[in-house]
Symmetry: C2
Subunit: 307 residues, 2 copies
């Protein structure tokens, strides 16, 4: 196997790579060597540990990376591109020097917005992939996650976006706060989740009290731990939805994310009368990286693209 | 020295004790053996390590403890007293068996509210101490901290209260979230703090976005780390103030807490036109424990108490 090019998604906690051929994915691999786990100077070696077997002598294989490899603590800091702009521009990939002559590495720049100040690294590639998958789309793309993003896209460009710390708050509160004593690691309660979304949207100013209330109800009323987990998630997603209302209200909305989480956002939006379309995160990442190297994308309808 | 009795404040992360005589405090000591650091069965030994030198043979010395010693993970779980009630009732202290015949230990019960579900352990003693110090007071007592409390007191009773997870959120976000990279451990910016209080009060639904904005401004605009710290604190305290508005609006407010934190709450309230009176936390704890053992308190005016 000799891949035509190699796609890589380098997150804070994970590295995922795909060997790409003319027909699509030839092979894939992943490791826990995320940006956060790698010391300065260790990025090329971490990459080669995953893709080494795919390489052979001859012309260098192109490797295109999105995500935190371009962060200040990454392989090489890559300046953000400024809004408004296409999510990914094949002309704007930034070459990164590598010692191994078998690879030619480039990093996809993240996007920055001046006011309100906001940044993304990696999601721009997923947005490009979503646009490729959708063929033509003007509206809002929501990317739930550690730092959820809501992006307004129009005529193939990202016009504005806003990030929310929702996923990181959920992780901190469920794993490290006093709430962890009464919270299940697994399990779910759909009804409690949707009630909490509504509660979080109606009373965002009560967040601190509602959070402590989960602890109090665990102590006084034996709140089931799976219910507590669903309520915590619902309160935080509800807070995000009311804060992002100007993005989704009256707009076509596409959700790009890990399946279970995207489904929760979908249910929360449906309760507000918004039917969001769900796209799988990995397919969007890969589609966006393909767009970055100028490949016609794998799953794109091709037809009807505007920009 | 033989103390008349011994006062103890056993928090989650700290134990503080006072040897009390007829004239007041004879000696005091503290350790980091908070409730969270002590294994089951280890509480008496931890207490004796601090107060052992104060003990001698003869009649057992009374030790009265408030705080987390009465929690489920504490020395012995002590049921909450239910609202409305006096913050501390000398008749309701719960004896705890001890092996050492030189001490007779009792724990001050915490308070519980059924709806909305809420609990406190330790703050009830500070409220009792504040009431003793104030002589006579109907209004609201705010106790900023890890889990801030706002308590409505009337005719010597706690009528209702609400807890907010504010302090724990600040600790998690400043020490363990992505924001820690751009946040100073020390340093302050009064103007940024008050602007963020106002912002947090006006736009509670934007919390998740404003939090991520601190990270983005650090990356894009070199937001000074001390300013970021003050803004984080202001956003969270602002969120609490708007959520607790029904407590402080048009009410006499007393703040009981650690000096720097209480001063911040005082400044935030002053910006809303509320002049809160500040009382030191330790004096309130000690006053409340004195009330619990039926002592006329040290610093009380004595005159004019209603209940």
């Amino acid at each position: 196997m000799r891949p035509g090019w190699i796609a890589a998604d380098w997150g804070t906690s994970r590295l995922r790579v795909w060997a790409m051929g003319a027909e699509g994915v030839l092979a894939e691999a992943r490791s826990d060597e995320g940006m956060g786990q790698i010391a300065v100077g260790g990025f090329e070696a971490a990459l080669l540990r995953l893709i080494g077997l795919w390489l052979s002598d001859g012309p260098a294989v192109q490797v295109v990376i999105c995500g935190m490899a371009g962060a200040r603590q990454g392989w090489q800091e890559v300046p953000y591109r400024r809004l408004p702009c296409a999510p990914v521009d094949p002309q704007a990939l930034v070459p990164v020097p590598s010692e191994d002559p078998r690879i030619a590495v480039r990093i996809v720049p993240g996007l920055a917005q001046a006011k309100p100040a906001d940044v993304m690294r990696g999601e721009e590639t997923q947005i490009a992939g979503a646009l490729a998958l959708l063929g033509s789309f003007d509206g809002v793309i929501c990317l739930p996650g550690t730092h959820s993003k809501w992006a307004q896209v129009s005529a193939g460009e990202v016009v504005s976006f806003r990030s929310f710390l929702t996923g990181e708050l959920f992780a901190l509160l469920s794993e490290r706060s006093v709430l962890r004593h009464g919270l299940a690691a697994e399990g779910w309660d759909d009804e409690a989740f949707l009630a909490a979304v509504s509660d979080g949207m109606s009373h965002p100013q009560k967040l601190g009290a509602k959070l402590f209330g989960l602890r109090a109800e665990a102590l006084l009323q034996d709140l089931p731990p799976a219910t507590a987990r669903a309520r915590l998630s619902g309160l935080l997603i509800g807070l995000e939805l009311v804060g992002a209302r100007s993005y989704w209200l009256g707009q076509p909305v596409v959700l790009v994310g890990e399946e279970a989480l995207a489904a929760r956002y979908g249910a929360a939006l449906a309760a507000q009368g918004v039917q969001a379309r769900l796209l799988p995160a990995a397919a969007c990442t890969l589609g966006g990286l393909a767009a970055a190297v100028g490949q016609l994308t794998l799953a794109s309808s091709g037809a009807g693209r505007k920009a």
